[in-house]
Symmetry: C2
Subunit: 240 residues, 2 copies
Protein backbone atom coordinates (compact mmCIF):
# COMPACT_ATOMS: atom_id res chain seq x y z
CA UNK A 1 0.00 0.00 0.00
CA UNK A 2 1.51 3.35 -1.00
CA UNK A 3 1.70 6.32 1.42
CA UNK A 4 -1.08 8.23 -0.34
CA UNK A 5 -3.53 5.34 0.03
CA UNK A 6 -2.46 5.06 3.68
CA UNK A 7 -3.24 8.74 4.18
CA UNK A 8 -6.65 8.39 2.52
CA UNK A 9 -7.60 5.30 4.53
CA UNK A 10 -6.64 6.83 7.86
CA UNK A 11 -8.95 9.85 7.57
CA UNK A 12 -11.02 10.77 10.59
CA UNK A 13 -12.48 14.13 11.50
CA UNK A 14 -10.38 16.07 14.00
CA UNK A 15 -12.27 18.44 16.29
CA UNK A 16 -9.55 19.27 18.81
CA UNK A 17 -6.33 21.02 17.86
CA UNK A 18 -3.08 22.09 19.54
CA UNK A 19 -2.05 25.76 19.47
CA UNK A 20 0.46 25.03 16.69
CA UNK A 21 0.21 27.05 13.51
CA UNK A 22 0.30 25.92 9.89
CA UNK A 23 3.25 27.76 8.33
CA UNK A 24 2.73 29.97 5.27
CA UNK A 25 4.76 27.47 3.20
CA UNK A 26 2.59 24.59 4.38
CA UNK A 27 -0.60 26.53 3.67
CA UNK A 28 0.72 27.30 0.19
CA UNK A 29 1.21 23.57 -0.45
CA UNK A 30 -2.33 22.86 0.74
CA UNK A 31 -3.80 25.58 -1.49
CA UNK A 32 -1.67 24.50 -4.45
CA UNK A 33 -2.94 20.93 -4.03
CA UNK A 34 -6.50 22.31 -4.03
CA UNK A 35 -5.81 24.40 -7.14
CA UNK A 36 -4.66 21.30 -9.02
CA UNK A 37 -8.05 19.57 -9.27
CA UNK A 38 -10.29 19.21 -12.29
CA UNK A 39 -12.82 21.92 -13.01
CA UNK A 40 -16.11 21.51 -14.94
CA UNK A 41 -15.71 23.25 -18.32
CA UNK A 42 -12.67 25.02 -16.83
CA UNK A 43 -15.11 27.40 -15.11
CA UNK A 44 -13.12 27.43 -11.84
CA UNK A 45 -16.14 28.57 -9.88
CA UNK A 46 -14.74 28.11 -6.37
CA UNK A 47 -13.52 30.73 -3.92
CA UNK A 48 -11.84 30.11 -0.59
CA UNK A 49 -12.24 32.67 2.16
CA UNK A 50 -9.48 32.21 4.70
CA UNK A 51 -10.68 33.60 8.02
CA UNK A 52 -7.89 34.95 10.23
CA UNK A 53 -9.92 37.61 12.06
CA UNK A 54 -10.59 36.37 15.60
CA UNK A 55 -13.97 38.02 15.98
CA UNK A 56 -15.18 36.63 12.66
CA UNK A 57 -13.96 33.19 13.72
CA UNK A 58 -15.90 33.50 16.97
CA UNK A 59 -19.07 34.45 15.11
CA UNK A 60 -18.66 31.66 12.55
CA UNK A 61 -18.22 29.14 15.39
CA UNK A 62 -21.51 30.42 16.83
CA UNK A 63 -23.36 30.40 13.49
CA UNK A 64 -22.23 26.80 12.91
CA UNK A 65 -23.99 25.75 16.11
CA UNK A 66 -21.33 26.57 18.70
CA UNK A 67 -18.51 24.48 17.29
CA UNK A 68 -15.59 25.88 19.30
CA UNK A 69 -12.92 24.36 17.04
CA UNK A 70 -14.01 26.77 14.28
CA UNK A 71 -12.59 29.53 16.48
CA UNK A 72 -9.61 27.56 17.80
CA UNK A 73 -8.12 25.71 14.82
CA UNK A 74 -4.95 26.88 13.09
CA UNK A 75 -6.68 27.64 9.79
CA UNK A 76 -10.36 28.03 8.95
CA UNK A 77 -11.28 28.05 5.29
CA UNK A 78 -14.75 28.82 3.93
CA UNK A 79 -15.37 27.10 0.61
CA UNK A 80 -17.74 28.97 -1.69
CA UNK A 81 -19.42 28.42 -5.01
CA UNK A 82 -18.48 31.61 -6.85
CA UNK A 83 -19.97 32.82 -10.11
CA UNK A 84 -19.45 36.47 -9.20
CA UNK A 85 -15.90 36.11 -10.52
CA UNK A 86 -17.38 35.36 -13.94
CA UNK A 87 -19.88 38.19 -13.60
CA UNK A 88 -17.05 40.63 -12.98
CA UNK A 89 -15.29 39.38 -16.12
CA UNK A 90 -18.44 39.35 -18.23
CA UNK A 91 -21.48 41.25 -16.92
CA UNK A 92 -23.60 39.50 -19.57
CA UNK A 93 -22.74 35.97 -18.36
CA UNK A 94 -25.87 33.83 -18.11
CA UNK A 95 -26.13 32.86 -14.45
CA UNK A 96 -28.64 31.38 -12.04
CA UNK A 97 -29.11 27.94 -13.57
CA UNK A 98 -29.65 24.99 -11.29
CA UNK A 99 -26.88 23.25 -13.22
CA UNK A 100 -24.47 25.94 -12.06
CA UNK A 101 -25.42 25.28 -8.46
CA UNK A 102 -24.52 21.63 -9.02
CA UNK A 103 -21.23 22.56 -10.68
CA UNK A 104 -20.46 24.96 -7.85
CA UNK A 105 -21.13 22.34 -5.18
CA UNK A 106 -19.28 19.55 -7.01
CA UNK A 107 -16.22 21.60 -7.99
CA UNK A 108 -15.90 23.20 -4.56
CA UNK A 109 -16.10 19.82 -2.88
CA UNK A 110 -13.49 18.04 -5.00
CA UNK A 111 -11.17 20.99 -4.53
CA UNK A 112 -11.71 21.00 -0.77
CA UNK A 113 -11.01 17.30 -0.53
CA UNK A 114 -7.60 17.82 -2.15
CA UNK A 115 -6.85 20.40 0.54
CA UNK A 116 -7.94 17.96 3.24
CA UNK A 117 -5.79 15.16 1.80
CA UNK A 118 -2.77 17.47 1.38
CA UNK A 119 -3.10 18.65 4.99
CA UNK A 120 -3.47 15.10 6.29
CA UNK A 121 -0.45 13.93 4.31
CA UNK A 122 1.57 16.58 6.19
CA UNK A 123 0.38 15.34 9.59
CA UNK A 124 -2.40 17.86 10.08
CA UNK A 125 -6.01 16.95 10.70
CA UNK A 126 -9.29 18.60 9.89
CA UNK A 127 -13.04 18.54 9.77
CA UNK A 128 -15.66 19.77 7.35
CA UNK A 129 -18.13 22.25 8.86
CA UNK A 130 -21.43 21.72 7.05
CA UNK A 131 -22.95 23.65 9.95
CA UNK A 132 -22.02 26.85 8.11
CA UNK A 133 -25.19 26.18 6.14
CA UNK A 134 -27.25 26.49 9.35
CA UNK A 135 -27.28 30.25 8.97
CA UNK A 136 -25.94 30.81 5.48
CA UNK A 137 -27.25 34.37 5.14
CA UNK A 138 -25.31 35.43 8.26
CA UNK A 139 -22.15 33.73 6.98
CA UNK A 140 -22.56 35.40 3.59
CA UNK A 141 -23.05 38.80 5.22
CA UNK A 142 -20.13 38.43 7.65
CA UNK A 143 -17.76 37.55 4.83
CA UNK A 144 -19.22 40.15 2.42
CA UNK A 145 -20.24 37.63 -0.22
CA UNK A 146 -21.86 39.33 -3.20
CA UNK A 147 -24.63 37.91 -5.34
CA UNK A 148 -23.73 34.60 -7.05
CA UNK A 149 -21.44 33.59 -4.21
CA UNK A 150 -22.60 31.13 -1.55
CA UNK A 151 -20.90 29.31 1.31
CA UNK A 152 -20.74 25.55 0.76
CA UNK A 153 -19.02 24.51 4.00
CA UNK A 154 -16.13 25.42 6.25
CA UNK A 155 -12.97 23.46 6.96
CA UNK A 156 -10.92 23.46 10.17
CA UNK A 157 -7.27 22.48 9.81
CA UNK A 158 -4.52 22.17 12.41
CA UNK A 159 -2.35 19.84 14.45
CA UNK A 160 -4.55 17.14 16.04
CA UNK A 161 -4.85 17.17 19.83
CA UNK A 162 -6.91 13.97 19.76
CA UNK A 163 -6.54 10.61 18.07
CA UNK A 164 -10.00 9.21 17.38
CA UNK A 165 -10.57 5.88 15.68
CA UNK A 166 -11.65 5.82 12.08
CA UNK A 167 -15.45 5.45 11.80
CA UNK A 168 -16.84 2.33 10.13
CA UNK A 169 -18.06 3.39 6.69
CA UNK A 170 -20.72 1.90 4.45
CA UNK A 171 -19.21 -1.33 3.04
CA UNK A 172 -18.49 -1.60 -0.68
CA UNK A 173 -21.29 -4.15 -0.94
CA UNK A 174 -23.83 -1.42 -0.10
CA UNK A 175 -22.04 1.44 -1.87
CA UNK A 176 -21.12 -0.05 -5.24
CA UNK A 177 -23.66 -1.33 -7.77
CA UNK A 178 -22.80 -3.05 -11.05
CA UNK A 179 -24.42 -1.98 -14.34
CA UNK A 180 -27.70 -1.05 -12.71
CA UNK A 181 -28.93 0.24 -9.37
CA UNK A 182 -29.48 -2.63 -6.97
CA UNK A 183 -31.83 -2.85 -4.00
CA UNK A 184 -30.25 -2.77 -0.57
CA UNK A 185 -28.69 -6.05 0.64
CA UNK A 186 -30.48 -6.59 3.96
CA UNK A 187 -27.86 -8.98 5.37
CA UNK A 188 -25.01 -6.59 4.59
CA UNK A 189 -27.01 -3.71 6.09
CA UNK A 190 -27.65 -5.68 9.25
CA UNK A 191 -23.93 -6.48 9.60
CA UNK A 192 -23.05 -2.85 9.07
CA UNK A 193 -25.68 -1.70 11.57
CA UNK A 194 -24.13 -3.95 14.20
CA UNK A 195 -20.67 -2.64 13.39
CA UNK A 196 -21.80 0.98 13.87
CA UNK A 197 -23.60 0.13 17.11
CA UNK A 198 -20.45 -1.51 18.43
CA UNK A 199 -18.33 1.47 17.38
CA UNK A 200 -20.57 3.87 19.33
CA UNK A 201 -20.67 1.62 22.38
CA UNK A 202 -16.87 1.37 22.50
CA UNK A 203 -16.41 5.08 21.94
CA UNK A 204 -19.05 6.32 24.39
CA UNK A 205 -18.70 3.77 27.16
CA UNK A 206 -22.08 2.32 26.24
CA UNK A 207 -23.95 5.65 26.42
CA UNK A 208 -24.77 5.75 22.72
CA UNK A 209 -26.56 2.65 21.48
CA UNK A 210 -27.50 3.23 17.87
CA UNK A 211 -27.18 1.46 14.54
CA UNK A 212 -26.59 3.36 11.31
CA UNK A 213 -30.18 2.70 10.19
CA UNK A 214 -31.49 4.13 13.45
CA UNK A 215 -29.26 7.15 13.20
CA UNK A 216 -30.19 8.11 9.65
CA UNK A 217 -33.86 7.46 10.37
CA UNK A 218 -33.69 9.92 13.27
CA UNK A 219 -31.84 12.48 11.15
CA UNK A 220 -34.35 12.25 8.32
CA UNK A 221 -37.37 12.56 10.61
CA UNK A 222 -37.10 16.31 10.42
CA UNK A 223 -36.63 18.69 7.54
CA UNK A 224 -33.02 19.53 6.76
CA UNK A 225 -32.42 23.27 6.48
CA UNK A 226 -35.79 23.95 4.81
CA UNK A 227 -34.70 27.55 4.12
CA UNK A 228 -32.00 26.45 1.66
CA UNK A 229 -34.08 26.83 -1.49
CA UNK A 230 -35.01 30.42 -0.62
CA UNK A 231 -31.43 31.17 0.38
CA UNK A 232 -30.10 29.90 -2.96
CA UNK A 233 -32.63 32.02 -4.81
CA UNK A 234 -31.74 35.08 -2.74
CA UNK A 235 -28.11 34.72 -3.80
CA UNK A 236 -28.93 34.18 -7.46
CA UNK A 237 -28.53 30.40 -7.51
CA UNK A 238 -30.99 27.83 -8.86
CA UNK A 239 -33.43 30.51 -9.96
CA UNK A 240 -34.03 28.62 -13.19
Amino acid sequence: MNPTIETLLSHRSIRKFTQDAISPEQLTQIIDAARSVSSSSFLQCTSIIRVTDKEKRRLLAEYAGNQAYVADCAEFLVWCADFHRHEQINPNAKLGFTEQTLIGAIDGAIMAQNAMVAAESMGFGGVYIGGLRNQPEKVAELLAMPNHVMPLFGMCLGVPAQDPETKPKLPAQLLVHENSYQAIDEAALSDYDNQVREYYQTRTGGNKDMSWSEQISATLEKEARPFMKDFLHSKGFSTR
Copy 2:
Protein backbone atom coordinates in the same frame (compact mmCIF):
# COMPACT_ATOMS: atom_id res chain seq x y z
CA MET B 1 7.41 17.69 -0.73
CA ASN B 2 5.82 14.37 0.26
CA PRO B 3 4.63 11.82 -2.35
CA THR B 4 0.95 12.58 -1.71
CA ILE B 5 1.40 16.28 -2.43
CA GLU B 6 3.39 15.30 -5.54
CA THR B 7 0.48 13.14 -6.69
CA LEU B 8 -2.03 15.93 -6.06
CA LEU B 9 0.03 18.56 -7.89
CA SER B 10 0.61 16.40 -10.95
CA HIS B 11 -3.10 15.85 -11.71
CA ARG B 12 -4.21 16.25 -15.29
CA SER B 13 -7.22 14.73 -16.99
CA ILE B 14 -6.42 11.59 -18.99
CA ARG B 15 -8.64 10.91 -21.99
CA LYS B 16 -6.64 8.13 -23.69
CA PHE B 17 -5.99 4.79 -22.06
CA THR B 18 -4.07 1.61 -22.82
CA GLN B 19 -5.90 -1.72 -22.90
CA ASP B 20 -4.56 -2.60 -19.43
CA ALA B 21 -7.04 -3.48 -16.73
CA ILE B 22 -7.26 -2.31 -13.15
CA SER B 23 -7.02 -5.47 -11.03
CA PRO B 24 -9.78 -6.32 -8.54
CA GLU B 25 -7.32 -5.66 -5.68
CA GLN B 26 -6.43 -2.26 -7.09
CA LEU B 27 -10.10 -1.39 -7.58
CA THR B 28 -10.77 -2.40 -3.99
CA GLN B 29 -8.08 0.00 -2.79
CA ILE B 30 -9.60 2.79 -4.88
CA ILE B 31 -13.09 2.11 -3.51
CA ASP B 32 -11.80 1.80 0.05
CA ALA B 33 -10.09 5.17 -0.29
CA ALA B 34 -13.40 6.61 -1.50
CA ARG B 35 -15.28 5.03 1.42
CA SER B 36 -12.94 6.69 3.90
CA VAL B 37 -14.09 10.29 3.35
CA SER B 38 -16.22 12.45 5.61
CA SER B 39 -19.97 12.32 5.22
CA SER B 40 -22.45 15.08 6.14
CA SER B 41 -24.37 13.98 9.25
CA PHE B 42 -23.12 10.44 8.52
CA LEU B 43 -25.88 10.19 5.88
CA GLN B 44 -23.61 8.42 3.37
CA CYS B 45 -25.84 9.43 0.48
CA THR B 46 -23.55 8.38 -2.38
CA SER B 47 -23.82 5.37 -4.67
CA ILE B 48 -21.30 4.26 -7.25
CA ILE B 49 -22.52 2.36 -10.30
CA ARG B 50 -19.61 0.49 -11.85
CA VAL B 51 -20.40 -0.09 -15.51
CA THR B 52 -18.81 -3.22 -16.95
CA ASP B 53 -21.45 -3.97 -19.60
CA LYS B 54 -20.00 -3.06 -23.00
CA GLU B 55 -23.28 -1.96 -24.55
CA LYS B 56 -24.12 0.27 -21.59
CA ARG B 57 -20.64 1.77 -21.84
CA ARG B 58 -21.19 2.50 -25.53
CA LEU B 59 -24.50 4.20 -24.80
CA LEU B 60 -23.06 6.24 -21.92
CA ALA B 61 -20.21 7.40 -24.18
CA GLU B 62 -22.85 8.56 -26.66
CA TYR B 63 -25.06 10.25 -24.03
CA ALA B 64 -22.01 12.13 -22.71
CA GLY B 65 -21.52 13.71 -26.14
CA ASN B 66 -19.55 10.98 -27.91
CA GLN B 67 -16.65 10.73 -25.50
CA ALA B 68 -15.07 7.47 -26.71
CA TYR B 69 -12.91 7.01 -23.59
CA VAL B 70 -16.10 6.37 -21.60
CA ALA B 71 -16.39 3.14 -23.60
CA ASP B 72 -12.65 2.35 -23.76
CA CYS B 73 -11.28 3.02 -20.26
CA ALA B 74 -10.48 0.20 -17.83
CA GLU B 75 -13.13 1.25 -15.30
CA PHE B 76 -16.09 3.58 -15.64
CA LEU B 77 -17.79 4.65 -12.44
CA VAL B 78 -21.03 6.63 -12.26
CA TRP B 79 -21.24 8.69 -9.08
CA CYS B 80 -24.77 9.25 -7.81
CA ALA B 81 -26.48 11.20 -5.08
CA ASP B 82 -28.58 8.48 -3.44
CA PHE B 83 -31.38 9.02 -0.93
CA HIS B 84 -33.26 5.95 -2.08
CA ARG B 85 -31.03 3.94 0.24
CA HIS B 86 -32.50 5.89 3.16
CA GLU B 87 -36.01 5.55 1.77
CA GLN B 88 -35.62 1.77 1.71
CA ILE B 89 -34.50 1.84 5.34
CA ASN B 90 -37.19 4.27 6.43
CA PRO B 91 -40.14 4.83 4.07
CA ASN B 92 -41.13 7.85 6.17
CA ALA B 93 -37.80 9.65 5.72
CA LYS B 94 -38.34 13.29 4.81
CA LEU B 95 -36.78 13.74 1.38
CA GLY B 96 -36.73 16.23 -1.45
CA PHE B 97 -35.14 19.22 0.27
CA THR B 98 -32.80 21.42 -1.71
CA GLU B 99 -30.32 21.01 1.15
CA GLN B 100 -30.24 17.28 0.42
CA THR B 101 -29.34 17.99 -3.19
CA LEU B 102 -26.41 20.06 -1.97
CA ILE B 103 -25.34 17.33 0.47
CA GLY B 104 -25.65 14.74 -2.29
CA ALA B 105 -23.51 16.75 -4.69
CA ILE B 106 -20.89 17.72 -2.08
CA ASP B 107 -20.56 14.27 -0.50
CA GLY B 108 -20.44 12.49 -3.85
CA ALA B 109 -17.76 14.84 -5.10
CA ILE B 110 -15.43 14.60 -2.10
CA MET B 111 -15.77 10.83 -2.23
CA ALA B 112 -15.02 10.73 -5.95
CA GLN B 113 -11.94 12.88 -5.54
CA ASN B 114 -10.51 10.37 -3.07
CA ALA B 115 -11.00 7.68 -5.71
CA MET B 116 -9.24 9.85 -8.29
CA VAL B 117 -6.31 10.55 -5.96
CA ALA B 118 -6.01 6.89 -4.96
CA ALA B 119 -5.98 5.83 -8.62
CA GLU B 120 -3.42 8.48 -9.54
CA SER B 121 -1.17 7.47 -6.63
CA MET B 122 -1.08 3.97 -8.15
CA GLY B 123 -0.05 5.27 -11.56
CA PHE B 124 -3.48 5.31 -13.15
CA GLY B 125 -5.09 8.36 -14.69
CA GLY B 126 -8.64 9.52 -15.07
CA VAL B 127 -11.13 12.15 -16.05
CA TYR B 128 -14.45 13.36 -14.68
CA ILE B 129 -17.34 13.08 -17.11
CA GLY B 130 -19.72 15.94 -16.30
CA GLY B 131 -21.20 15.25 -19.74
CA LEU B 132 -23.32 12.53 -18.12
CA ARG B 133 -25.54 15.43 -17.10
CA ASN B 134 -26.18 16.22 -20.77
CA GLN B 135 -28.90 13.59 -20.88
CA PRO B 136 -29.42 12.69 -17.23
CA GLU B 137 -32.81 11.07 -17.71
CA LYS B 138 -31.34 8.60 -20.25
CA VAL B 139 -28.45 7.80 -17.89
CA ALA B 140 -30.85 7.30 -15.00
CA GLU B 141 -33.04 5.01 -17.10
CA LEU B 142 -30.13 2.97 -18.51
CA LEU B 143 -28.76 2.32 -15.03
CA ALA B 144 -32.21 1.75 -13.48
CA MET B 145 -31.95 4.57 -10.97
CA PRO B 146 -35.07 4.81 -8.83
CA ASN B 147 -36.57 7.99 -7.44
CA HIS B 148 -34.19 9.96 -5.14
CA VAL B 149 -31.15 8.77 -7.06
CA MET B 150 -29.46 11.02 -9.63
CA PRO B 151 -26.24 10.80 -11.63
CA LEU B 152 -23.71 13.47 -10.60
CA PHE B 153 -20.91 12.64 -13.05
CA GLY B 154 -18.95 9.74 -14.44
CA MET B 155 -15.29 8.90 -13.96
CA CYS B 156 -12.97 7.11 -16.40
CA LEU B 157 -9.98 5.36 -14.87
CA GLY B 158 -7.17 3.39 -16.49
CA VAL B 159 -3.53 3.32 -17.51
CA PRO B 160 -2.67 6.58 -19.33
CA ALA B 161 -1.80 6.31 -23.02
CA GLN B 162 -0.99 10.02 -23.17
CA ASP B 163 1.08 12.38 -21.05
CA PRO B 164 -0.48 15.84 -21.24
CA GLU B 165 0.92 18.84 -19.40
CA THR B 166 -0.81 20.05 -16.27
CA LYS B 167 -3.16 22.94 -17.09
CA PRO B 168 -2.46 26.35 -15.55
CA LYS B 169 -5.01 26.84 -12.77
CA LEU B 170 -6.41 30.00 -11.23
CA PRO B 171 -3.60 31.45 -9.06
CA ALA B 172 -4.03 31.60 -5.29
CA GLN B 173 -4.22 35.37 -5.55
CA LEU B 174 -7.52 35.06 -7.42
CA LEU B 175 -8.82 31.98 -5.58
CA VAL B 176 -8.17 32.83 -1.92
CA HIS B 177 -9.72 35.79 -0.12
CA GLU B 178 -8.94 36.85 3.46
CA ASN B 179 -11.71 37.58 5.96
CA SER B 180 -14.07 38.97 3.35
CA TYR B 181 -14.78 38.48 -0.33
CA GLN B 182 -12.48 40.62 -2.43
CA ALA B 183 -13.03 42.04 -5.90
CA ILE B 184 -11.02 40.49 -8.69
CA ASP B 185 -7.38 41.63 -8.99
CA GLU B 186 -7.22 42.84 -12.60
CA ALA B 187 -3.44 42.58 -12.89
CA ALA B 188 -3.40 39.00 -11.60
CA LEU B 189 -6.26 38.12 -13.95
CA SER B 190 -4.42 39.59 -16.91
CA ASP B 191 -1.28 37.58 -16.05
CA TYR B 192 -3.35 34.42 -15.73
CA ASP B 193 -5.16 35.10 -19.00
CA ASN B 194 -1.81 35.34 -20.77
CA GLN B 195 -0.64 32.14 -19.14
CA VAL B 196 -3.74 30.24 -20.36
CA ARG B 197 -3.41 31.70 -23.87
CA GLU B 198 0.21 30.55 -23.99
CA TYR B 199 -0.74 27.09 -22.74
CA TYR B 200 -3.31 26.66 -25.52
CA GLN B 201 -0.94 27.97 -28.18
CA THR B 202 1.80 25.53 -27.15
CA ARG B 203 -0.62 22.62 -26.92
CA THR B 204 -2.50 23.23 -30.16
CA GLY B 205 0.30 24.49 -32.37
CA GLY B 206 -1.21 27.96 -32.34
CA ASN B 207 -4.69 26.85 -33.46
CA LYS B 208 -6.40 27.79 -30.21
CA ASP B 209 -5.82 31.37 -29.17
CA MET B 210 -7.91 32.05 -26.09
CA SER B 211 -7.47 33.52 -22.64
CA TRP B 212 -9.31 32.14 -19.61
CA SER B 213 -11.58 35.20 -19.53
CA GLU B 214 -12.47 34.69 -23.18
CA GLN B 215 -13.13 31.01 -22.65
CA ILE B 216 -15.46 31.39 -19.68
CA SER B 217 -17.25 34.28 -21.36
CA ALA B 218 -17.96 32.07 -24.36
CA THR B 219 -19.11 29.21 -22.11
CA LEU B 220 -21.47 31.44 -20.15
CA GLU B 221 -23.01 33.02 -23.24
CA LYS B 222 -25.47 30.17 -23.45
CA GLU B 223 -27.63 28.47 -20.85
CA ALA B 224 -26.02 25.48 -19.15
CA ARG B 225 -28.28 22.43 -19.17
CA PRO B 226 -31.47 24.44 -18.65
CA PHE B 227 -33.42 21.21 -18.11
CA MET B 228 -31.58 20.44 -14.86
CA LYS B 229 -34.15 21.96 -12.51
CA ASP B 230 -36.97 19.91 -14.05
CA PHE B 231 -34.80 16.79 -14.04
CA LEU B 232 -34.02 17.20 -10.33
CA HIS B 233 -37.71 17.64 -9.56
CA SER B 234 -38.61 14.58 -11.64
CA LYS B 235 -36.22 12.48 -9.51
CA GLY B 236 -37.51 13.87 -6.22
CA PHE B 237 -34.66 16.33 -5.61
CA SER B 238 -34.94 20.02 -4.73
CA THR B 239 -38.71 19.89 -4.71
CA ARG B 240 -38.78 22.05 -1.59
